[in-house]
Structures are given as structure tokens and as C-alpha cells.
């Protein structure tokens, strides 16, 4: 069912060494992002220390949800922001958006029921966006009620009503809406794609969901009746597809190229695959919006800038590039050193932990002996793998399954990876000997890309040093996902990456390790099948307060890593951003792992 | 050897210098393998209205001599000594620009293979008109009219239309005529025809030669006719020069040379060609051996390796001593006039037993 944000960074070239404790002193310069962006966490010390940013996630109050957003220091009105993106946006229709780059972009023109408010310290609050607050639960968390603010308007000045929100949700049932997250429709109408049967054509044929499912008693009220209790509903309603779509302006598939704006900007000109121009939306009222500003006159987003290209332009900082930034393009890893050495970049860059984690899954069906799995885990050269991915500015060495960006994250290190970043071949060898499996053949599968080819070199080498025999199996990059997601696959160890849709671990552990998730195409890539784990998942899921659930998830994650070892956490992704010197108000959006464009202005 | 012109052409040059005078001409090419002495001490004269034939095998230096006269030899690696004077003007030392003014104007050349010698890329008319425009400054239209006139003159039927044809659209004989038209377009006083008929049918050959003669009669120009074909020479030229290995080995009025050749090589040339006058069964006698390498020409008489009469001369004379060509009529050979007569007589006697192949 649910799928996490999969960031589109093809990590083709990313990054350098993690800031591991050992190398920490050396690397500090690399890791300190410089106090740009005003966001907290200018320094990321690595898993050795508690970053505690995650614990800053909270639900905002009604007051937090009221506009206008607090002024950004030094902000000025006017000017156009140039945005250099590598990949073209694949969708503009909020219903279809799931990738990080567009998630960042949609913040400018699209509003959802709730949203994330990031303060100067980098603390994240979920607040009401279209709604006055983060919703009111009843019926044990099965029913959630939201009330819309006053003065909300579309780009044509027409008011946003509950009917528009309803339309926005009901259209997710239409068969063409395939790419976006589907939490709300699935919670309302059923798992998988069964929910579509509730409204096969969406709202387009005049049919609607019954009020027992989705109720809009008046122009201001929306009531969800879920099949199960969902404590993290305020997070789910912060997905961009839980917003308002005006029925008359809904052009179905074509909406993808011309969404009707509710945010401070609207689509000015869109050349698919090439450029997108966002211009001021005069009908947006700052008093209704606790998050967004409208400083710049507009954003000119252009696609097709390789990381090296955009980095070079930010570094040169000439002409129009002074007014440029990128939502999601990272500094090209080969230029990391250059960027860090150029003093004037200090105030216009950041390195932040993203909610994405790289794992090495171990196929439990094939590698049945837990001692062998442990041996693999100990042998895994996390540091070297990270280095192939770009090193310190691309990620942090991972010591457990949860990202530091998750609520309740603790820097536990059950396998002692921090001390042995290149793996511990002796220990692995010993474990393998204990299992009597010396010289065992391991099929290591990898997607055939530049970086993964290099990763395969270090993984193979480390495993062989630990006494394994390795069969390397390259898989075409474009079928990689399906190939490893096949339950009956013939591989033993393979990389995958997971990012939570919101900073609650209920979007991580159950998906990765619950045996009930095992199916072709699902995310339990390891096929871990442990009843005790399943039971624990259920128990924690029932905790009504997400804040209390956080530490419980961490405990469970560590237990799995210690007892079952179905996967080896390798590194936590980081975003290394750089922008032009004439741009202000850039901060990090920790949930999306991108630049937050809402407070950006031209100096 | 100065020939007195029998026709109306007024005697030129108040000085004693003939119209074209080549003196002690040496042409050497430097190649990778050494120095080639392509022409080695050649001298001859030619007056207006006269025709000089130059015969010899390929590689005997005929063509090189003519190219040297026009200054068309490859400049790089070529060394020329001696003098070439045309109408009193020294050509070997003349600057390129001066030569350019003379070429195609005062002196012109007809080449052997009209297919390759005419540019395939331009129309016949244009190629004929080009030198005319250059040397007379005529307008495009006048030049074209002149080209038609010339084509007409050389006997191209329908000249006004054919003037716009490309060379490949002409037959071989017509091309050769066009080439002659091109050479004559500026009424040159010296015309060098380098084997103008070799590539043609016998009937066409005769026509072309007649044409040349006709034109000479009209303009009174001097003609150098280069050929390896003695048959052509007999009816066309006034004087004859026989070349071998870059040297003149015999010269004289054509009747005398053909009638009483004085050099064994000339005998060989005559023997290796069929004559209309002789019996069809009479075998042709080729000259044994191959022309010598000009890189390392044989010492002494260059012909001695192929000469059947070395013994008659006696001693090492042929191998060591280079025979001089006497001024005027004569041959560069060590044989005495008596020996020559005997040998020639012997050669002309039929030899039934031997069948030569060609």
C-alpha cells in the first residue's frame, strides 16, 4: 500500500565520507553546513551525537495555524528567483506529486489541509493550512474533522469551500491518478487499489462518496470517516494531494500541465520538460497562511541542469545565477571540495540530513542462518559505500534503521558500525565460522549505474575478505525496482533506499519488516517473517499519541537489527545545497529533504 | 641547325638568335632515390613557321623539355640550367608572372590525353575562352564568341551549340580538336604539341595533323611536335630531333634523318614501327632491353647497353666516352660514317627467320 517518498536524486555521483566519530575532527569542516538558510542544524555531527532535531517534530496549535507567517529577517519584495533543476518535473497536478523536487515546488502554488511549518531553529510543526488546525479526532481516531479558514481563495478569486476539498480527494479515485500518495483514499475506502471500486470514475460522472465516508456538512467542514484509527492523520493530510481542486477547472489529465493555484503563486507559463514560470497569485491572502510568503515576484524554474552545471553556476555566482537556487539539486560530489574551500559559499549553503536511508537488504528466504546475516552486517563497509556515494556531504554513516530525521530517533549502534566504518572482517569471519558456512556463495545484486558499480566493488571486496564468495549480479537500472521487489528473487543481498512520508516511524518499520507486507512489489525486501515483530508493530501502531510511539519504534528497530538482521543500514542521506549570493531566506525543509522555497526572497 | 623559312613569314630577330633557342638545357629532379637527370645537355633551335619533331621512347626527356620551355615543370626539387630564349627573351630565369603572360598567349601547348588534360568540371567553351579573356581582356561575350569561332575553325560541327558541352560529352577526336582550339585561341607564335594524336584512331590522327598544318599555314607559328611515332613525323615536320635518355642523339631535316638515320637508336626506332611502304610480312624489330634508369645513366654512350654495334666501335669507347652530337645534321655515335652505312644496310635487309612480337 503506502509508499514512501522516493526522492528522485539518482544518487549517481553523490557524496563523500560520513562524519564518523573517528574521522570526525577531520571532517568537521565538510559537515558544518555553515549558518546559511537560517535553519537549525547548521552543524550535523553525525550519529555519534543526538541531533535531536527529530524530537522537534510536533503538532501545532490553532494559533500556530493562523496566518500570516512570521516575517523572514531582511526579506524584501520583488525580483525573480531562478531555479535550476536537474530533472524535469514529472507532474504538476497535486494529486500526482510524490517526488521531492515537485513537493518543494508545489508549496508555492498548492495548499493542503495541513502543512509543515519550519521555524528558525529548524523545528517542524504540523499546522493547519487550509484548515484552521490539525484536525479533531473522535471515535478512537477513526473520525477526523477539519474546518476551513475564512478568506481562502483560488487564483481567480473564487472562494475555496469544503466542496472543493472534497472534489480534490474524490478525484484521487479516478483511474488516471496513479502516482501520488494514497493514504487518505485508502484509509477511507480500502487497501491497495480496492479503494478505487468505491468511486471508479472519481467525481467526474456525478457520483460522490457517501457522507458516511467523506462528509461535507457545510462550506467549511470536512469530516473523514476512516476504516481504522489513524493517529497520524494530520501528517497524511499534509500530503499535497489533500487539498482543494475547483471542479470547473479540473481538466483531468490535462490538469497536470495547468493546476489551479491556491498558494501565493500560480502557473504563468509551463513548457513541459523545459521550464516553468510561477507568477504572483493576487488572490492569495497572506492572513490565511501560516507558512508561505510572497516576497519574490516570481520563480523561473528551468530543467536539465546537471549537478555539475548548477554547482558550477552557483560557484561562479555571475549575473542571473546570483538570483538562483535549486529546490533539490545537490552540489556535485566531485565539486564538494571546491565549494567548501571557496570562502564566500559559507553563507549560502547547507548540508542537512534527509529522511532517506540506504540499506542493504538481506534476503531472509535465502540466507536463513541469522549468524550468516550477522556476518554480512558486520562485514558491510558502510563508510566505503558512503564514500562511493559522495562521502560526508552526501550522507551520514547509519548505525540503525531509523533516520535521524524521524521522530523518536536515538543514535543507537547495535552492530558497532561507528567504530568499524569499513566493516569488521574478523568478526564476520568468526561468525561465519561459527555457522560453519565459510566460503558461502552470496549473490550480490545491484542496479547497473556508475555509482552502484563502484559500490559493488567495495561490497564484493569486503564480503570476500570476510570469507564469502560473491556472485555479482548487475541488473538493468530501469527494472531494478521490480527485480528486487519480487519475492522469489534469486538474490541474497541488494541495496534499497527508504524515505518516510512523514517523520513518524509508522511509515518505516511496518513497511520494511512486517511479514504481512511480503508480496511482489512490496517494501519488505528482506522478506522478514517474524510473528513477534508483527505483534509489536500492531502494539505500537495502536498507541494514540504519535509522540509516545516514537521511542517504541526505535526500540523495535534496534531489536530487529540485533536479533533478525534482515537488512544492514548503510547511510542516512544528506542534502548539500548551494545557492546564489543574492538570494535570501533559504531554509531546509526536513520532511521533504529539500530547500523550502516559501520564505525565499531576492536581496 | 637553322632552317630557312620557305614561306611568307618575315624573318624575325634582327639578332642572330632564332625564335626559340634551347641551349645546353639540363633538367634534374631530386627524388627520394637520388637525382634524376631528365634532360641532359639538350640544345635546339626553331624558327617561326617551321615544325620541329622530337621523337624518342617514353622517359627520354621529350615532355620534360617542353614543360621546361613553358615553365610548367614541378618547381620543387627541380633544377634547370642552360638557357631557353623565346623571341629573344630568356625564359628559365623569367619570373612566374612573366611566364604566365606568355603561356597560352605567345606559346601554347597541346597535350596528349585530351580526356584528362581538359578539366571535367567546366564547359569546353569556358575552357577555351578563359585564356582569351585573360590575355586579351575580352568581355565574357566576346570570349564566348571567340570560343565558338575557334571550335568552328578546328572543325567541330554545330560549334555554337557544342560550346556549352562538357569535355566528356565530346568524342576523343573532337576533344583533341577542342584542345587545339584552346591552344590556338590567342594565336600563339610557338605551339608545342605533346603527342597530340597518340590516343586517337589512325584516321582521326591524320585529320588532326592536317588541321595543325593548316593552322600553321594560316598563322605562321612555330610548332614543336613531340611524338614517339615516326610515322606521324614523316609527313608533318620539317626537322627532327631524336632523344634518348635525356639527350639528343640525332638531328637533321626530317627526310635526311628518316632516309639515312645515323644513330643505332634511330635505326631501332625505325625498325620497331610498321611502315606502309613495306611488306606486311616484314617482321618488326623491337629494340632489345629497356630505357636506362635516369637515376644512374650508363656511362659513356647511354645507349650502349642496348646497342648491337658496341663491338664495331671497339674498345671501351662506348662505355666510357660520351659521343658528341655535331652541330647541324648529325648523330651522337662513335661509329664512323662507313660503319653506319654498312650496319644500316644490314638492318634493312629482310630477316625471314625471326618473328617479332609487339
Amino acid at each position: 500500500m503506502t509508499k514512501a517518498l522516493r526522492h528522485r536524486h539518482r544518487r549517481s555521483a553523490a557524496v563523500a565520507l560520513a562524519c564518523w566519530g573517528a574521522a570526525g575532527a577531520l571532517v568537521l569542516t565538510a559537515c558544518s553546513g555553515g549558518g546559511g538558510g537560517g535553519g537549525g542544524g547548521g552543524k550535523s555531527e553525525g550519529p555519534g551525537e543526538d541531533k535531536t532535531k527529530a524530537s522537534n517534530y510536533s503538532l501545532g496549535t490553532k494559533e500556530d495555524s493562523a496566518g500570516p507567517a512570521p516575517e523572514v529577517k531582511g526579506a524584501k519584495k520583488g525580483g525573480t528567483v531562478n531555479v535550476l533543476q536537474r530533472d524535469a518535473f514529472n507532474h504538476l497536478d497535486p494529486g500526482q506529486i510524490y517526488f521531492a523536487d515537485v513537493l518543494a515546488a508545489q508549496m508555492l502554488y498548492n495548499r493542503s489541509l495541513t502543512s509543515y511549518k519550519v521555524d528558525d531553529q529548524g523545528r517542524v510543526k504540523v499546522v493547519g493550512d487550509l484548515a484552521t488546525d490539525t484536525g479533531t479526532a473522535s471515535d478512537g481516531g477513526r473520525t477526523w474533522k477539519f474546518t476551513l479558514k475564512d478568506g481562502l481563495k483560488f487564483e481567480d478569486g473564487s472562494p475555496i469551500t469544503a466542496r472543493d476539498v472534497r472534489w480534490g480527494i474524490e478525484r484521487l479515485y479516478a483511474p488516471f491518478e496513479t502516482d501520488g500518495p494514497l493514504y487518505i483514499p485508502q484509509w477511507l475506502s480500502g487497501e491497495g487499489s480496492t479503494f478505487r471500486k468505491a468511486l471508479p470514475d472519481g467525481p467526474y460522472e456525478g457520483k460522490h462518496l457517501p457522507s458516511s465516508v467523506l462528509d461535507t456538512p457545510d462550506d467549511k467542514t470536512i469530516i473523514f470517516h476512516f476504516l481504522q484509527p489513524h493517529a497520524d492523520t494530520p501528517f497524511a493530510t499534509a500530503m499535497p494531494n489533500v487539498g482543494a481542486v475547483k471542479a470547473e477547472k479540473d481538466t483531468k489529465q490535462k490538469y497536470d500541465n495547468a493546476p489551479f493555484a491556491s498558494g501565493p503563486y500560480k502557473v504563468g507559463e509551463y513548457k513541459v520538460g523545459k521550464s516553468l514560470k510561477l507568477v504572483r497569485n493576487e488572490h492569495w491572502d497572506p492572513k490565511t497562511d501560516p507558512i508561505r510568503h510572497q516576497y519574490a515576484d516570481g520563480f523561473e524554474i528551468s530543467f536539465g541542469h546537471q549537478y555539475a552545471d548548477s554547482t558550477r553556476r552557483f560557484l561562479a555566482d555571475q549575473g542571473g545565477d546570483k538570483n538562483a537556487l535549486s529546490f533539490s539539486s545537490a552540489v556535485a560530489p566531485e565539486m564538494t571540495e571546491k565549494v567548501l574551500k571557496q570562502a564566500d559559499t559559507r553563507s549560502r549553503r547547507f548540508v542537512e540530513v534527509q529522511p532517506y536511508v540506504d540499506y542493504m537488504s538481506i534476503n531472509v528466504d535465502r540466507v536463513k542462518d541469522v549468524r550468516v546475516r550477522k556476518a554480512i552486517a558486520h562485514a558491510m563497509p558502510n563508510g566505503q559505500i558512503l564514500q562511493q556515494n559522495g562521502g560526508a556531504t552526501a550522507g551520514l554513516l547509519a548505525t540503525n534503521y531509523l533516520s535521524p530525521a524521524m521522530d523518536g530517533y536515538r543514535p543507537t549502534d547495535p552492530l558497532g558500525k561507528k567504530a568499524k566504518p569499513s566493516g569488521d572482517p574478523e568478526k564476520a569471519r568468526a561468525l561465519l565460522k561459527e555457522a560453519g558456512k565459510e566460503g558461502m556463495e552470496i549473490v550480490y545484486a545491484y542496479a547497473n549505474t556508475d555509482v552502484q558499480q563502484k559500490v559493488s566493488v567495495v561490497v564484493t571486496q569486503a564480503l570476500e575478505r570476510a570469507g564469502f564468495k560473491v556472485q555479482k549480479k548487475e541488473v538493468d537500472a530501469n527494472i531494478w525496482r521490480t527485480a528486487v521487489a519480487e519475492v522469489k528473487n534469486k538474490f541474497d543481498v541488494y541495496r534499497n533506499s527508504w524515505g518516510a512520508d512523514w517523520p513518524v516511524s509508522s511509515t518505516v518499520i511496518p513497511l520494511l519488516f512486517d511479514s504481512r507486507q511480503i508480496a511482489d512489489g512490496s517494501q519488505n525486501y528482506s522478506h522478514l517473517n517474524n510473528r513477534a515483530v508483527d505483534a509489536e508493530v500492531d502494539r505500537i501502531n495502536k498507541i494514540p499519541d504519535v509522540k509516545q510511539a516514537g521511542p517504541e519504534w526505535q526500540k523495535l528497530a534496534d531489536r530487529i537489527l540485533t536479533e533478525d538482521v534482515p537488512a544492514v543500514p548503510v547511510f542516512y542521506n544528506r542534502q548539500f545545497s548551494l545557492w546564489g549570493s543574492n538570494i535570501g531566506g533559504v531554509r531546509y525543509q526536513p520532511v521533504y529533504g529539500t530547500v523550502d522555497p516559501t520564505g525565499v526572497f531576492v536581496k | 641547325m637553322t632552317a630557312t623559312s620557305p614561306d611568307t613569314t618575315p624573318p624575325p630577330a634582327p639578332s642572330a638568335t632564332p625564335f626559340l633557342s634551347v641551349r645546353d638545357l639540363h633538367v634534374r629532379f631530386t627524388t627520394e632515390d637520388g637525382v634524376v637527370k631528365a634532360v641532359d645537355g639538350l640544345s635546339f633551335d626553331l624558327e617561326r613557321g617551321r615544325t620541329l619533331g622530337i621523337v624518342g621512347e617514353s622517359g627520354s626527356g621529350k615532355s620534360v623539355t617542353n614543360l621546361a620551355v613553358l615553365g610548367l615543370h614541378e618547381r620543387r626539387g627541380t633544377e634547370i640550367t642552360g638557357t631557353i630564349t623565346l623571341d629573344g627573351r630568356e625564359l628559365t630565369t623569367a619570373p612566374e608572372s612573366a611566364l604566365e603572360k606568355l603561356r597560352g598567349n605567345k606559346m601554347a601547348m597541346i597535350f596528349q590525353d585530351s580526356l584528362t588534360a581538359l578539366s571535367p568540371y567546366y564547359t569546353v567553351g569556358r575552357q577555351i575562352a578563359e585564356p582569351y579573356r585573360k590575355h586579351t581582356g575580352a568581355s565574357r561575350r566576346d570570349a564566348r564568341r571567340r570560343a565558338v569561332e575557334m571550335l568552328d575553325k578546328v572543325g567541330i560541327p554545330n560549334a555554337a551549340r557544342r560550346v556549352d558541352d562538357y569535355p566528356h560529352q565530346f568524342s576523343g577526336g573532337m576533344r583533341q580538336r577542342a584542345m587545339i582550339a584552346m591552344a590556338l585561341v590567342c594565336d600563339p607564335e610557338l605551339l608545342i604539341a605533346d603527342e597530340p594524336t597518340t590516343a586517337l584512331d589512325v584516321t582521326v590522327q591524320a585529320q588532326i595533323l592536317d588541321l595543325l598544318k593548316d593552322l600553321q599555314r594560316q598563322t605562321g607559328s612555330a610548332i614543336v611536335l613531340v611524338t614517339h611515332d615516326l610515322g606521324v613525323v614523316a609527313h608533318t615536320v620539317d626537322d627532327l630531333l631524336v632523344m634518348y635518355a635525356g639527350r639528343a642523339v640525332e638531328r637533321g631535316p626530317v627526310r635526311e634523318v628518316l632516309g639515312a638515320p645515323g644513330h643505332p637508336y634511330t635505326w631501332g626506332l625505325l625498325g620497331s614501327m610498321p611502315r606502309l611502304t613495306s611488306d606486311v610480312d616484314e617482321p618488326l624489330v623491337p629494340i632489345p632491353g629497356a630505357p636506362p634508369s635516369l637515376l644512374t645513366p650508363p656511362p659513356g654512350c647511354p645507349f650502349h647497353p642496348r646497342c648491337a654495334h658496341v663491338a664495331e666501335v671497339g674498345g671501351d669507347r662506348c662505355r666510357t666516352e660520351r659521343p658528341e652530337l655535331p652541330a647541324g645534321r648529325g648523330a651522337a655515335c662513335h661509329l664512323t660514317p662507313g660503319q653506319r652505312r654498312t650496319a644500316l644496310a644490314a638492318r634493312l635487309a629482310p630477316r625471314p627467320g625471326r618473328g617479332g612480337t609487339r
Binding site: R6, L182 | L72, M182
Partner: protein, 325 residues
């Protein structure tokens, strides 16, 4: 001429059809499911089947091929909407009509190719003629050794060095990028400069070598000697007679080079991160984006066969002996 054109165009069409068919059928040997590209993240077998149906992937390959080719002339209707002629299908990876992408990318390739071609043709032929004119002198030796080395250079090496030195090191030139000439001719020029230079260095070598040897060969031709014997100046002969003869082979090679470059100057585009047809092709292979790949392939081989026809016509124009039939 008309007969020539008719005959050649017919032959070209046969070749294009064959090549497109080979490409199309070969690609079904690839072990991947193109529908996955459009299936998004919530992909289920049902959704997959639907997409397969929408894209017409459920039909036999020959039928699909027929639809594809017919669509180029008649346009096609997809569930996503009508795709007007010329319809090269909808891209599997970005769900846009392929033709739009081609139209979008082609100017980049065109700029690289035409700009580069102008430089390397003019400079290459120029150098070749210079070397021929000064044959044997230091000028000739200098350019000859230069072109020998140039001939041995590879874009993926020189290009990188050029970037490192000219862009990153000395900041003399702009990072290669494509800006439409219609929007900003200045930027277009500066953005294309390095690709042109690098592409040229390599081709110049070829062209100067060829031109030189052709010129020298032509200068030795009888008809050139004839022209000299007519009293035409060295210069006239060189530029009018010898050049005309040397032109034909140069034009032939130029046509072939240009034709293959139009299909995408792949390595150049790759080295300089330019988004032309070549890069599009490479990415479409990686993404099993059959419609896009087909389209690029068709553009590429059409360019080649057209180039061949043009070369033959040009040949006939240059050399009147050649007859078109």
C-alpha cells in the same frame, strides 16, 4: 533529376522502414517492462495491464509496429489524448508526445552540428589548402603534424581537458549550455563555443588531411597542368581547377559526417552535458523508452539517407560527368 529523386527517395524509404522495423523488433528482446515506467509508484498488476492496453502494448509486435508507423502520418488516439501527426507515440518515461521532445531537443543537436560543421569545414578545408599550397614548407609540416595529433584526439578526453582549462581553470569561456538562438544569440554562441571548438579540433584534422592530399593529387592532374599552360595564374588554377576537383570527395565525407551527427553528436553531448538527440537516445535506452528511441533512430537514419541523396546530388553538381539517374 526528378527520376533520380524519385528513385532515391523510394530507396531511402525502404531503408528507413527496414531500420525502424529492426529497431522496433529488437527492442522487444529487452528484458524489461516498458509499462512500468508509466505505472508510477502505486503500481499494481491491474494498473500495469491497463497501461499496457492504453499504450497498445498488449497487441502483437507487428501490429504495434504498424500502428506506430501509421501514427507518424495519421496521428493516433491514446487514452491520454490525441496525438496529432507526426505522432511518434507517447514517451513511456515522461508521458509526453515524443515528437514534442524531439522538436525540443533537435535545436541543440542542430546547433552543435551546424555550428561545429561550419567551423570544421571552413577551417579544415582552409588549413588543408594552405598546407597543399605551401607543400613541403614548415607551414605544411606544422599543420600536418597538428592534424595528425588532432586526428588522434578523442572528444571525451579533449572535451574534459577543455572544460577543466577553459571553464573551470581560466574562466575564459562559459560552461557549455544550450540557449535558443532566437532568445539570446549571444548566449547561444558562448554556450556552444566549447562544443564547437572541441568537435572541430577533431574533424578539422580529418578535413585538412583529406583536403591537402586531394589538392595535391589534383594539382598533379593533367587538366590542372593544362590550365597552367593556358597562362592562368597559380592562384586561379589552385582555387578554380584544383579546388573543384578536390571538393567532390570532401563533400562526400562532409555529407556522411553531417548525416551521422544529426542523429545526435552523442559523445559530444555526453561530454558537455548538452541535451540533444544523442543524450535523449542514451536515456531512452536506459529507460526502455521505445517510442522515443524509435523516433531518434528514425531521425538519425533519415538524416543519413537524406545526406546520402544530397551528397549524390551535390556530386553531380560538382562533377558534370556524374549523371543522376
Amino acid at each position: 533529376m526528378l527520376r533520380f529523386l524519385a528513385r532515391r527517395v523510394l530507396g531511402a524509404l525502404v531503408i528507413i522502414v527496414l531500420i525502424s522495423a529492426i529497431t522496433f523488433f529488437l527492442f522487444f528482446a529487452l528484458p524489461s517492462e516498458p509499462a512500468l515506467m508509466s505505472c508510477g509508484k502505486n503500481c499494481t498488476p491491474d494498473a500495469l495491464a491497463l497501461i499496457n492496453k492504453n499504450l497498445g502494448l498488449d497487441e502483437p509486435v507487428p501490429v504495434q509496429y504498424w500502428h506506430y508507423m501509421a501514427g507518424i502520418f495519421t496521428g493516433r488516439d491514446f487514452s491520454v489524448g490525441h496525438c496529432p501527426a507526426p505522432c511518434f507515440g507517447y514517451s513511456f518515461s515522461n508521458q509526453q508526445p515524443v515528437w514534442g521532445t524531439i522538436v525540443d531537443r533537435f535545436p541543440t543537436t542542430l546547433s552543435i552540428t551546424v555550428g561545429g560543421a561550419v567551423v570544421f569545414l571552413v577551417v579544415g578545408v582552409g588549413i588543408g589548402m594552405l598546407a597543399a599550397a605551401f607543400r613541403g614548407t614548415w607551414v605544411d609540416k606544422f599543420f600536418s603534424s597538428l592534424s595528425l595529433i588532432g586526428n588522434s584526439l578523442q572528444i571525451y578526453f579533449v572535451g574534459v581537458i577543455a572544460l577543466a582549462v577553459l571553464v573551470s581553470g581560466l574562466h575564459w569561456m562559459d560552461n557549455p549550455a544550450y540557449h535558443p538562438i532566437t532568445e539570446n544569440p549571444g548566449k547561444w554562441f558562448t554556450g556552444m563555443l566549447i562544443p564547437w571548438l572541441v568537435l572541430s579540433i577533431i574533424f578539422i584534422a580529418n578535413y585538412s588531411r583529406m583536403t591537402r592530399s586531394q589538392m595535391i593529387e589534383q594539382m598533379g592532374e593533367d587538366h590542372v597542368r593544362t590550365a597552367r599552360a593556358k597562362g592562368l595564374s597559380r592562384r586561379t588554377v589552385f582555387f578554380r581547377y584544383a579546388w573543384r576537383g578536390a571538393l567532390a570527395p570532401v563533400v562526400t565525407i562532409f555529407g556522411i559526417d553531417l548525416g551521422s551527427l544529426f542523429g545526435g553528436a552523442i559523445i559530444t553531448e555526453f561530454t558537455f552535458s548538452l541535451h540533444g538527440l544523442g543524450r535523449l537516445a542514451v536515456s531512452s535506452v536506459g529507460e526502455t523508452d521505445l517510442p522515443t528511441l524509435m523516433a531518434v533512430m528514425l531521425v538519425g537514419c533519415t538524416a543519413i539517407v537524406i545526406a546520402n541523396i544530397v551528397v549524390d546530388a551535390a556530386y553531380a553538381f560538382i562533377d558534370p560527368r556524374v549523371r543522376l539517374a
